[in-house]
């Protein structure tokens, strides 16, 4: 076993241990939510294949869709490279798969190289859209600070990945062509078979080996870095888009969840029999913290990549109101992270008192520490945000649950709605009317 193998194994073990910790924390945070009503997702697999795997909804905006597709395919196909690198790293081999796969090997690598070029172009385009062209939805005030940096870090990471692959392949190709008797040929690679010798051909063997090794380690370092970074980043969508679309509900969009305990109370007041026992949940009077949201809601918050398609089509946001559906998702995630941090902090003491969540956590804050009432009050429930999301997130579901809390639990809400409630109770219409309901037929009769 050589020194490089030992080093690699140490890194691998550290990364694995740290990843278990970080992903475990994320999974724990999602499980702070309440159970979903029985998940009704018969069509979930089909939606996952079409919408996550097939990127169907991305194509509402064709330019970013194509750019994104390049990076996505390159990402998926590069797993071949990664697999080989891990085997090579453990066993101290070099390009082990080239010995096994024969002619298929250069085909695969060529495929990866071509896609990497496309992905490189797409990444530069994405960086420019964010930082030079200043596409509005990528430069809104939702993203000031960490979110903007996060997005750029991911893109820079992608560029480093691609540089790593081309250094590795390019230096190897230069070695193979300079010293064919010493370096076993691995076949024709579409890009580096000419780019490698052109760039590095004049360098001595020692430097070429250095560049090859540098490329190999750079690629792996960025991949390992990504693995550990993802749970703290919006980029988590590359993994969670799949379970999130799979767990999406078949229920019609226009259906707000029923509150069975209130249904039962009203039915008994009206003398109607309830044909089943009402199921009580901790969200019966709306949602004010992550504990009353469903695990699916929380999974959605981690699946959000902050693209802002929802906010870009939100009628309230478009006309200058404070509501931004993207911000709602980011706020839910931030609150989850805050609760998670406090749970991991041995010095944190829960405040006690009345708490309505299963773990009795109380830090004196809730989602309303992040989301202003003015935001949720501006929603028209038009479903534009739901329609826009490429990975089937519903900010609307959360907004309507927060409203329920404001109205049912706090007995608050927009003052304008109070006359509406009164009229609905007394008159069966949103206005207190003096005319009769069927007055409109008088002109006809």
């Amino acid at each position: 076993m050589n020194i490089s193998q030992i080093l690699f194994l140490i890194v691998l073990v550290i990364v694995f241990k740290e990843a278990v910790k970080r992903y475990g924390r994320l999974f724990r945070n999602i499980n702070l939510g309440r159970d979903d009503e029985p998940i009704n997702n018969k069509g979930g697999f089909r939606r996952m294949m079409l919408i996550a795997f097939g990127q169907q909804k991305m194509f509402k905006r064709p330019i970013p869709a194509v750019l994104h597709l390049f990076i996505y395919i390159a990402f998926v196909i590069t797993q071949f490279d990664l697999l080989e690198q891990i085997i090579d790293g453990i066993f101290g081999t070099h390009r082990i798969l080239s010995h096994i796969l024969g002619g298929f090997y250069p085909f695969m690598i060529s495929f990866i190289e071509i896609l990497s070029v496309f992905a490189f172009i797409a990444t530069i385009a994405f960086l420019s859209r964010r930082n030079l062209l200043k596409v509005p939805r990528l430069n809104s005030k939702d993203l000031i600070g960490w979110a903007k940096l996060d997005a750029n870090l991911i893109l820079i990471g992608e560029i480093l990945l691609i540089i790593g692959i081309f250094c590795l392949n390019g230096a190897d190709k230069a070695l193979e062509s300079n010293l064919p008797e010493k370096y076993h040929p691995t076949g024709f690679f579409a890009i580096t078979s000419w780019l490698g010798p052109a760039l590095f051909g004049s360098l001595p063997e020692y430097y070429l080996n250095l560049i090859s090794g540098f490329g190999w380690w750079l690629h792996l370092a960025v991949v390992f870095g990504f693995i550990l970074y993802l749970p703290t980043s919006k980029h988590m969508h590359i993994l969670l888009a799949f379970p999130n679309t799979y767990l999406s509900s078949d229920n019609p969009r226009g259906r707000m969840p029923n509150i069975e305990s209130i249904e039962a109370e009203v039915k008994s007041a009206l003398g109607i029999e309830m044909n089943h026992t009402p199921k009580e949940t901790i969200a019966d009077f709306g949602v004010h913290d992550i504990f009353q949201l469903t695990r699916k809601n929380l999974l959605e918050a981690y699946s959000c990549t902050e693209c802002g398609r929802c906010t870009a089509v939100c009628p309230a946001n478009l006309t200058g109101k404070k509501l931004s559906p993207r911000k709602i998702m980011m706020d839910v995630r931030d609150r989850m992270e805050e609760v998670g941090r406090k749970l991991d902090d041995p010095d944190f003491k829960s405040l006690g008192g009345d708490v309505d969540n299963k773990i009795g956590f109380n830090d004196g804050k809730d989602l309303f520490s992040y989301i202003e009432k003015e935001e949720i009050r501006a929603c028209t429930s038009c479903n534009a945000c739901v329609e826009a999301c490429p990975v089937l997130i519903s900010p609307l579901e959360i907004i309507l649950q927060l409203r329920r809390y404001e109205v049912l639990t706090e007995s608050s809400g927009p003052p304008d709605w109070i006359p509406m409630y009164n009229a609905l109770e007394n008159n069966g219409s949103p206005w207190q009317m003096t005319i009769e309901r069927d007055d409109w037929i008088k002109e006809l009769n």
Binding site: K267, G320, E387, R403, S429, W431, W440
Partner: protein, 261 residues
């Protein structure tokens, strides 16, 4: 013509073909009342036997539920379901997409299975069955744009029935940039109709009116009385109310027919 109530049908021991659920706007709002009248006139003219609930109708509870007030929603909804059960109501047609949505998607949770259809879907069905005949006449060749209501469009996926009816009028249908699943809300949904806007730069209906004005259409066709009211206000805000009319599709069809009654 005479519009009969369910109670009157029941007294005769009969069931109408369909219950026309008028909705709060259709009952009380002066502009929307004219839509109710137009739809009733069409049904009457082509011999569809329908009834209304009259004074027994009530709000579906949609604005209460979307505002967050589940108690009021449950009160109204369960009372309505009692009324439906009393009369053995199976089929409802409504001119309001919000009423349509809540009957279709939310009342079943409370134990009411209702066959509900929106008036544009109903009229389109009748057109296809040959029971309704539409001729261009007054609208022939006019430039008309159609505003998708959120609750028929995005929420319930109905984009084509209203368009097929409009096209049957031999008009020049021009689309706004944001149409079908990308349609922009009029600003009324989610009980916004019943409150002042939150602070912002402009009203949503003004934004939508501007887009409609941009098409050069002389009529904005709608399938929802909330949209009708909001778009009418939007046109007033842009001082275009004399040049551009907001019309429900039922009114357009009625106007194209020779209805003397």
């Amino acid at each position: 013509m005479q519009v009969k109530t369910m109670a009157e049908f029941a007294a005769e021991g009969r069931q109408p073909e369909v219950l026309f659920w008028v909705g709060c706007l259709g009952s009380y709002d002066a502009r929307a009342q004219r839509v109710s009248q137009a739809f009733a006139q069409i049904l009457n003219a082509i011999g569809i036997e329908f009834a209304i609930l009259g004074k027994e109708e009530s709000c579906t509870g949609d604005p209460a539920r979307r505002a967050g007030n589940e108690f009021i929603f449950q009160m109204l909804a369960n009372q309505n379901i009692q009324t439906f059960n009393n009369y053995g109501i199976k089929k409802i047609v409504t001119t309001c997409p919000h009423c349509f949505n809540i009957f279709k998607n939310e009342y079943p949770d409370l134990g009411a299975q209702i066959d509900v259809i929106h008036h544009t879907q109903f009229l389109n069905q009748l057109l296809k069955e040959g029971r309704l005949k539409i001729e261009g006449g007054v609208f022939n060749g006019q430039k008309i744009t159609y505003h998708d209501s959120c609750y028929m469009g995005r929420v319930n996926g109905e984009y084509e029935a209203p368009r097929e009816l409009i096209q049957a009028l031999d008009v020049d249908l021009v689309e706004m940039g944001r149409n079908r699943s990308n349609g922009l809300c009029c600003g009324a949904g989610g009980a916004q109709m019943f409150k002042e806007d939150e602070p912002g730069e402009k009203r949503i209906n003004t934004e939508r009116a501007e887009e409609a004005i941009g098409t050069g259409a002389s009529i904005v066709a709608v399938n929802c009385s909330f949209c009708n009211v909001m778009m009418t206000d939007g046109m007033k805000a842009k001082e275009k109310q004399d040049e551009i009319k907001i019309m429900d599709i039922a009114e357009m069809i009625r106007d194209s027919m020779n209805i003397n009654d």
